[in-house]
């Protein structure tokens, strides 16, 4: 039976840590660029967060976008954007949040439907989020993100030393910012599902980081006298095949999702793919060099708990 893994060295002996300056510069660039794009372009918020109306229709033939666009924009509902959605017959209509109370939003849906008339064979989706709910969802979203990052950092602090928690939290924030930047750059709709994608990336990236940290701590305990840099480098090298393997299988599954999972979650999958790549990079290129920057010493690492002692 073939098993390519036998050709993969256990310790490729690559000088990861020697590239730490380049990695840190790249990370800083990524974060600054993401923030810049975010400030300049802003996020393309979906109805979940900005409030407004989203209607997905299927027309009887290929839709005449230009005609529909000028017609719907003449309704006095403010900005109405249209885009083809997956098929030439499918159109996604975004109506901006209406001034006034929720009742005004409901009327706008009626107005658009009346204008579309018989051309629509099927209303595939109607989503409407009132200003009040939009604001609540925004607050809940920010709260969830902050709590998720905080909760993860607390757990790491509890399981490791503070240097690890700070490094992990920095790497996580880096991933979240870089992903938000990606959504801003691509102008992929940012909605509840994309927010979930961002938090999943946080979960995945920390998973990756923890595996390497775990190894670093183990080696620090074993080789108390060797230079910390060498040990960190060894920890990365000895986990790199696993890091690559897991990232590859996850990316395989996600590409299947992005290409075949349907138009509705394409943006979501693209965000995840980008996030997995960034998250994998940050575990090796950011979290580990940060441990070194914080002058981690073997003496900082608490002695192993009795349970993991028995091996060797």
């Amino acid at each position: 039976m073939i098993a390519l893994i036998r050709k993969v060295p256990l310790d490729p002996g690559f000088d990861f840590i020697g590239k730490r300056k380049i990695c840190l510069i790249f990370s800083a660039f990524l974060v600054l660029a993401s923030m810049g794009i975010f400030l300049v372009q802003g996020l393309n918020f979906g109805v979940d967060f900005r409030g407004g109306i989203l209607i997905e229709i299927r027309t009887d033939g290929p839709a005449d976008l230009a005609e529909l666009r000028s017609e719907l924009n003449g309704l006095g509902l403010g900005e109405v954007t249209l885009q083809e959605f997956g098929e030439p017959t499918d159109v996604l209509i975004n109506v901006q949040r209406q001034d006034g109370e929720e009742a005004a939003q409901n009327e706008a849906i009626e107005t658009v439907k009346a204008a579309l008339g018989d051309r629509v064979v099927e209303y595939r989706r109607v989503e409407f989020v009132g200003p009040k709910v939009g604001e609540e969802l925004r607050e809940a979203g920010i709260l969830a993100t902050v709590l998720a990052l905080g909760g993860i950092a607390l757990y790491i602090w509890f399981r490791f030393e503070w240097q690890f928690a700070v490094a992990a939290l920095t790497a996580l924030t880096h991933d979240v910012i870089a992903t938000v930047g990606f959504f801003a750059l691509m102008q992929i709709e940012f909605n509840l599902a994309t927010l979930a994608a961002v938090l999943t990336i946080a979960g995945y990236s920390i998973n990756d980081t923890v595996v390497i940290f775990d190894r670093a701590r183990e080696e620090l305990r074993r080789y108390k006298r060797r230079p910390v840099l060498d040990i960190l480098n060894m920890a990365v090298n000895r986990t790199v095949s696993r890091t690559a393997m897991t990232s590859l299988t996850t990316l395989l599954a996600l590409f299947a999702l992005a290409f075949f999972g349907g138009e509705v979650i394409r943006g979501f999958s693209m965000g995840l793919i980008w996030g997995i790549v960034v998250g994998t990079f940050s575990s090796v290129g950011l979290a580990i060099p940060l441990l070194h920057l914080m002058k981690l010493r073997a003496s900082h690492v608490a002695p192993p708990e009795p349970t993991s002692q028995e091996a060797t």
Binding site: A3, I5, E127, F128, I152, A196, I206, L254, A256, G261
Partner: protein, 522 residues
């Protein structure tokens, strides 16, 4: 030799077998799932509205209006009680949630208590500087009223939806003043939405013909209402109607759509109280018009030709057939105690839902096949073990979703696909450790495998628990589809830990015992 305790072996196998049993009903079409033998599990995965198609509606009840009404009732009551008892007062007004007025002569709160009687049951009356009396509606009273209004609203909505024949609707109160309505698989969401949202408050009141709206001043106790349909000149007709209600929709015993002279109309029947009142009012007012008013609009204003004593009447008003049957339905189900506004709507047509399921299935299968092939090629024999664990993992996720009756949403499917990719992680961690044990430490196959599992364990736990933290926060703070994603992600993490640590290890150890290999193919 590695010893796995017997209870662990039995427990692991039991969970896998039960998983297969509970996942099985999902393979048959929904109709046939009910016909499975009674001893077999027959719960299927619960599909979210974004997959099954249907409407998610969040509506807000106008409680401010209800409180305002409470205050107005008190104000009216106070005014008429004071007039009746010929007690001098000035400056009667509403102030915040209280009714305030100045007494001409101080008479003591006890005397006022007597005058107002039951009117004060939900209020607190105090005398302030001078002769100012303040009657405040208590928070307790507002709370009780709120709960009563919410309960009645839910009940009326349920009745209306039941009348439309929608299957398995879910109607829940959310927070103080919100109602969440979930309607799976409805054909005409817009129609149902309209039907639920109508207050449907029906009243019969006399029309004043001696004053003309827009010319004369409006006498006290009357108001101007517009007609629902435009009049002959294209504009709505303005009626001056009395505020006093002859009969209201509460006194109906039945309402049915029917035809009169080929026009769709609604025939109504009053209950005994309603018949008596309507009979009396019509016999006293022969020759004068009365207005049939629905939600503040005049549907029609017929002239009373003779006393109507039979307790039934016809509402006509240039309806379409659908309008007349909708109105009859609303009248049968009763009026909402307060008006309703939609603040969030998510409707997915059946077409998109079906497309999403198909796309999700394809993505799942393709992702799965890609990962299976990859693992097989890279890890060979051990890859096959990981693959068995991966398949078991997917089965267990399906089973857990069915048993917990958690809702599977589109992002939930994405969660499953992601889990497929991430699930091999635990196995990869273990295999890499085994590899090190073999190549660095020259361990025998048995020791290598034993150490490999043991050393990878804490890493697996640490890395999965951190992801679980993220998933649980998504669950608690997310709504709808996102919650669904968090559920599948969390279930996937737990099942993937189980399949890697327990199930795959069982297979590996069994293989070790049988074959007693000299070296490991890794």
């Amino acid at each position: 030799m590695i010893k796995i305790p017997r209870w662990q072996v039995i427990g692991t196998l039991l969970i896998v077998v039960l998983g297969i049993l509970y996942a099985l009903p999902n393979l048959v079409p929904k109709q046939e799932a009910g016909e499975l033998p009674s001893w077999a599990p027959h719960q299927q995965v619960n599909l979210g509205l974004d997959l099954s198609g249907g409407s998610y509606l969040l509506a807000e009840v106008d409680l401010e209006g209800v409180y305002q009404e409470m205050l107005n009732d008190t104000l009216d009551g106070v005014r008429s009680a004071l007039r009746e008892q010929r007690i001098g007062y000035t400056n009667l007004r509403a102030d915040g949630n209280a009714v305030v007025f100045d007494l001409r002569d101080d008479m003591g709160l006890d005397r006022l208590q007597e005058v107002f009687g039951a009117l004060l049951s939900n209020t607190l009356m105090t005398q302030e500087e001078g002769n100012q009396i303040r009657i405040e509606v208590t928070d307790q009273a507002r709370l009780e009223r709120r709960n009563a209004v919410m309960q009645q609203t839910l009940e009326i909505i349920r009745r209306r939806i039941d009348e439309t024949g929608t299957r398995e609707p879910s109607i829940q109160r959310q927070g103080d003043d919100r109602v969440l309505i979930q309607l799976p698989g409805i054909e005409d969401p817009e129609g149902v939405k309209d039907l639920i949202g109508k207050t449907a408050k029906l009243t019969f009141r006399m029309v004043r013909t001696d004053v003309v709206a827009g010319q004369d001043s409006i006498p006290p106790g009357t108001e101007v209402l517009l007609s629902e349909e435009p009049g002959p000149n294209g504009e709505a007709i303005r009626y001056v109607v009395e505020k006093r209600v002859m009969v209201s929709g509460e006194n109906l015993s039945n309402a049915q759509p029917t035809f009169q002279d080929g026009e769709p109309v609604v025939s109504i029947r009053f209950d005994s109280v309603g018949s008596k009142r309507f009979g009396q009012a019509t016999s006293e007012n022969v020759g004068r018009p009365f207005a049939i008013i629905l939600d503040g609009e005049v549907i029609s204003a017929p002239r009373i030709n003779e006393a109507i004593l039979g307790g039934s009447a016809i509402i006509s008003g240039s309806f379409t057939t659908k309008e007349s049957s909708d109105l009859a339905l609303l009248l049968r189900a009763g009026a909402l105690p307060a008006s309703l506004t939609y603040i969030e709507e998510r409707t997915v047509g059946p077409g998109l839902g079906a497309d999403s399921i198909r796309a999700g299935e394809i993505a799942c299968i393709l992702g799965m096949v890609a990962v299976l092939i990859f693992m097989g090629v890279v890890y060979g024999f051990f890859g096959m073990i990981a693959n068995i664990a991966l398949v078991a993992n997917l089965i267990l996720i399906l089973a857990a979703l069915s048993v917990l009756q958690a809702t599977l949403t589109l992002p939930g499917i994405a969660g499953i696909v992601l889990t497929i990719g991430m699930a091999v992680d635990a196995n990869v961690l273990i295999f890499e450790r085994i590899r090190e044990e073999v190549h660095y430490n020259n361990r025998s196959p048995v020791t290598a495998i034993d150490n490999g599992y043991r050393r990878a364990l804490t890493t697996i736990l640490d890395s999965n628990i951190t992801t679980l933290i993220a998933a649980s926060l998504l669950f608690f703070f997310g709504t709808g589809p996102v919650k669904g994603f968090a559920v599948t992600l969390a279930i996937g993490l737990i099942t993937s830990m189980f399949t890697a640590i327990m199930f795959a290890r069982l297979i590996t150890v069994t293989w070790l015992r049988r074959k007693r290999p000299q070296s490991l193919p890794i």
